[in-house]
Amino acid sequence: MTTTTPGARPRAARAATPRRGLRAGAALGGAALVLVLALLAGVWVGALPLPPGAVVATLLDRLLSPLGIAVPGGLEGTEAAVLLELRLPRVLLASLVGAGLAISGAAYQGVFRNPLADPYLLGAAAGAGLGATLVIAYSPVQSVGPVGIVPLAAFAGALIGVGCALALGTAAGGSHSPTLLLAGIAVAAFLAAAQTLVQQQNTEDLREIYGWLLGQLGRSQWSDVALVLPYLGVACTVLLFCGRALDVLAVGDDEASSLGVHPGRLRLLVVLAASLATASAVAVSGLIGFVGLVVPHIVRRLIGGSHARVLPMSLLVGGSFLVLADLVARVVVAPAELPIGVVTAFVGAPFFAGLLWAGARRG
């Protein structure tokens, strides 16, 4: 009896686990494939039609040229310039921003155990808005070296906003999550009021300020990609490593402590990393809404609630989502463009509503 029972059990355990692992792996692989296809569609579609074969050839040529391999059949002249100097940085930036906002949103929702949390919650958006508005209205210079002054001010503003919220929250009651949330709301309200004040004092800059607030990818350059990539890379790496710890935090602070986790330290680390990702995304793209709130929910409906899976999946889906939304923004009223923030909500809201409806029907 003692020999048969333990013998039977490992088989059941072994049969159950690889299937789950496979399914999660397949979902991640599928999302990565979708992202690649979205990126290709993003560089291919636009006001100037480019032959898809030549697009792929050019990209492969540029990718492989450091290895000394030349791929023939690439684009030349204006077409090459459109691809390499306009579309490629824009599409890459869209994927980086989307990925950063989505993973930050998933992390914020996990750390605050609140499904309505989004990356702009702790004053990142209001701080970035104030920073951008201030320099648009008052700065005598347009750029510092190759980097625009607006992204720098927005980046600093976002970090200062979150820093104030963290300082206030910690002073008011430690890292206990409701206190931190309320501190973030207070800081965001104050900074938003200051931003509105500056904006009303400078009505001649209203159009530019408003354009920034709505979110934009139209002026993307390689320097923007270079600006966000290091910060986003560090922040996303940290967040990806925190997935399993966030799963433990999901059972509450006391129980997480009883499982050997430090909820306060973990929360601080995740908030800092998510805020860094948000600040760098906001710096180059303005305030693109909806991605950080909704992509994590879409992902959870697809693959369940475990953060170890939701975070990497949000990264990939967020990237694809924003690339495709940007594509729609460029195509629908071409040659003009829709604000990307409008498109994310226009595309995302019905899609999300459909998911909710399907979920409700499934029971």
């Binding site: 003692t2 059941a12 799963d247 433990v248 999901a250 059972v251 509450g252 499982l259 959870r300």
Partner: protein, 281 residues
């Protein structure tokens, strides 16, 4: 004996530890909730902390676990927990709170797997041995069929078993349960307590629980500690602690204590109608 060998107890794990609470004092702000509490639980024993509402039962458990700031000392097998790294503490003590937070979108198996957290690197995926222990624990608690189900779809009794399974996957030496029967009907409450008792006897676990139901406390625990206004006012076997006098003094309750074969049962007695007077104080 076959049940015993299926216990996923590695070397040393699953052996109950001696728990000592020495002069534990704690409070909220300036309000003192616990006053020099002194308790000892022998390895493999079950101590039920009873007491009227607000007497400090939950705070006592949370202080023993180190969640609540306190003075005094808690020792596990003679080792003070104050200097222990949190992970080490988590390997010796498991905790099931009165109202566990059940995360959304998480399967029962994933939830039980969280119990392995203190035994594996925080960033790493569960290893084969973790999955094996989780599968064993779930089988023992009859949760195999719920393994793939969302935690939030389980019934009250199933949830309580899932929480117990998570605690056991932790392979603790001491199990701290805050009102394990709080939201359960009598039948399910008995099932859960029978289960705890079986696990305790099979694994030699030490159990410390709060229990507001005095009859259940008297029938399952081998020792009771009566907490009143933050002090231990009575400690001993159920027969010693559960008397009509202590219930009257500390609960303001009228009750008879009936001696039964498996422990004393508390029978509330309604006041005669003539005795009904306006409540004092």
């Amino acid at each position: 004996m076959s049940g015993r060998t299926s216990v996923p107890s590695g070397a040393g794990a699953g052996r109950g530890a001696r728990v000592e609470v020495l002069g534990l004092t704690a409070g909220y702000g300036r309000t003192r909730v616990l006053d020099a509490v002194r308790l000892t639980v022998e390895p493999g024993g079950w101590l039920a902390v009873i007491g009227p509402n607000g007497s400090g039962k939950s705070t006592l458990l949370r202080s023993v676990l180190g969640f609540h700031p306190h003075h005094g000392q808690v020792r596990i097998d003679g080792v003070p927990t104050s200097g222990m790294p949190r992970r080490d503490r988590a390997r010796s003590m498991a905790y099931a709170p009165q109202t566990p937070v059940l995360p959304e979108g998480v399967t029962t198996r994933d939830y039980v797997t969280l119990g392995r957290t203190p035994h594996r690197p925080l960033l790493a995926a569960p290893r084969g041995v973790d999955r094996q222990i989780v599968a064993d624990v779930m089988e023992r608690l009859g949760l195999e069929r719920m393994a793939g189900r969302q935690l939030t779809t389980l019934s009250g009794g199933e949830r309580q078993r899932a929480v117990l399974a998570r605690s056991l996957a932790q392979q603790p030496r001491v199990l701290l349960l805050d009102e394990p029967t709080a939201s359960l009907d009598l039948g399910h409450a008995q099932q859960v307590l029978d289960l705890v008792d079986r696990l305790r006897r099979q694994d030699g676990l030490t159990v410390v629980s709060t229990l507001h139901d005095l009859t259940l406390a008297g029938q399952y625990a081998d020792r009771l500690a009566l907490l009143s206004e933050g002090r231990v006012v009575a400690e001993g076997s159920p027969e010693e602690v559960l008397t009509a006098e202590t219930l009257s003094t500390h609960y303001g309750a009228r009750a008879e204590v009936v001696r039964g074969p498996s422990g004393p049962a508390v029978l509330p007695v309604r006041a005669p109608a003539a005795d009904l007077r306006p409540v004092e104080g």
